[in-house]
Subunit: 347 residues, 2 copies
Amino acid sequence: MFENKNGRTELSALGEFGLIGHISQHVKLHQPGSLKGIGDDAAVIDNGPGRTVVTTDMLVEGVHFDLSYCPLKHLGYKAVAVNLSDLCAMNAQPRQILCGLSLSNRFSLEAVEELMSGMLLACERYGADLVGGDTCSSAGGLSISITAIGHAQENELVYRSGAKVNDLICVTGDLGSAYMGLQLLNREKRVFLENPNVQPELSGHDYLLERQLKPEPRVDMLQRFTSWYVKPSAMIDISDGLASDLMHICKASGVGCKVYEEKLPIDHLTRELALEFGIDPNVAALNGGEDYELLFTLPLSEYGKISDRSEISIVGHITAADEGYRYIDRQEHEHELRAQGWDAFRS
Amino acid sequence: MFENKNGRTELSALGEFGLIGHISQHVKLHQPGSLKGIGDDAAVIDNGPGRTVVTTDMLVEGVHFDLSYCPLKHLGYKAVAVNLSDLCAMNAQPRQILCGLSLSNRFSLEAVEELMSGMLLACERYGADLVGGDTCSSAGGLSISITAIGHAQENELVYRSGAKVNDLICVTGDLGSAYMGLQLLNREKRVFLENPNVQPELSGHDYLLERQLKPEPRVDMLQRFTSWYVKPSAMIDISDGLASDLMHICKASGVGCKVYEEKLPIDHLTRELALEFGIDPNVAALNGGEDYELLFTLPLSEYGKISDRSEISIVGHITAADEGYRYIDRQEHEHELRAQGWDAFRS
């Protein structure tokens, strides 16, 4: 997308306006609602009749990503993807993106181009337009702030608060793979730090690495829900882990839940690597996080419409609030479901 | 707004969700279009028929602010104000705000409360709702990312690109005062660093300090334009300085400009302090920045409607592109107008 140059252009040689101008060249608008993009005080959007849905996320170097193993293009892609995933979790179609960047002097223009090419690739794949943003310098590392704007009809929106007793608890895709991808990258980084001459052993792990480095928002599910004539009663995307995110639905809906170990969708690659690392694959699935799959509830009456869909696993059901959050293992022992997901202020 | 406690509560004791829950308690929604605020994957907004206008800005510690002299409450207020100022510059009414925060461990809950109370004060004053955001930890200092959403009818919007030859160049309020406020704070910081026992000499400078620490977006002008039956042909808010921002209008409109020294609106407090500091007051007005006044152009035919409005100064007029960007001093000598405003990647 951006020209591949071998040189290094200092951002200070361009200045802020030069950088914005440079980035703007590569941005194309596709959405008819994107009336005005980069280049004025604000973007102008016509989201038509219906509802405008907006979400924002910050990604900070050293907290959310480690540039020693996360290529900038992947990082840009992921920054957009996780925000689009939040729109999907509302059952809203992605439309526009705004992007804030703070960069220290160690980043060159070529580095920014790499990052932006990943963002624009995600925008293109999911039909969102980059309509504005802000760039500035930072004393420390790289911070990325993305705002995503989506659109839905009022009756299409799905909130966290709609789960009812006896609803089925469903997830798309498989869980724990992004977490195992991260463990793999961490191991190779440790090996590298001990001996920089050792080649990283990442072959055969493409799937797990891709799940960590290049998650895909489940925009495809919006269309599927429509074609299957189902509408989730509550929905969230899995960023912190199934347990933590299910508890968000339960709290917002005033209900409890039961989740079954034997129902957790875990890919065999995830399972094998977890065992190799001495990690319980179920813990990876429940608490690993960053899956960016959709977790949703459906009335029991809808069971027939989704029971044989390969995209979906039914992992449990909603209970009354006083039954609490329960996890049933393969031996049919009950445990309390615990959110051990990543918490931003603990480390 | 937040309870005044003397203790210090570590953010790690609350965790991210605790912090979000704590902040949410203090957030009230007033806009009928704010259908869903904090607490789901995304906010839901009904901006009705018309246009949704969106802008985003990042503020980074050590680059945009210095906490040694910028109180957190003022910083929160300013972070919101500068984004609302961008909406004003589109002639759009502020409606909603989203806020991203990345915070290092040295910030306590009480510090976040101070910051948020300033943000909410600005939201309240200008009738915007805080509908969402993101919080995370950072290895370094504090970064604030604000996204502001506004609303306008299609025919109300004003872009940078509408200036025509012979249009009047107008500014609201006075210029250079925020810059002199910053010089004052910098001087007192240097004195303090040399001798922490010396009391800061800030008395008598309330106006200049307030202009720097607590700028007010000119939301009032939107109503005035309507009541005066005028609509700017082009508009921008002055964040980088009159010269730099006027050149943005000229470039977007494909025109040139003439600005007159004797027309620059400079408060006598700004002028006196500038002379005391050995700074040319005109340079402060042209290149100081952070005024957050509106700079706009109007067809010459509208002169009668605004010529005796105290809120507005006519500082020059638009010329053909080939006449360039010109600055006429009191001796009627012509100079090239130069943008020496703050540039994010030079320092």
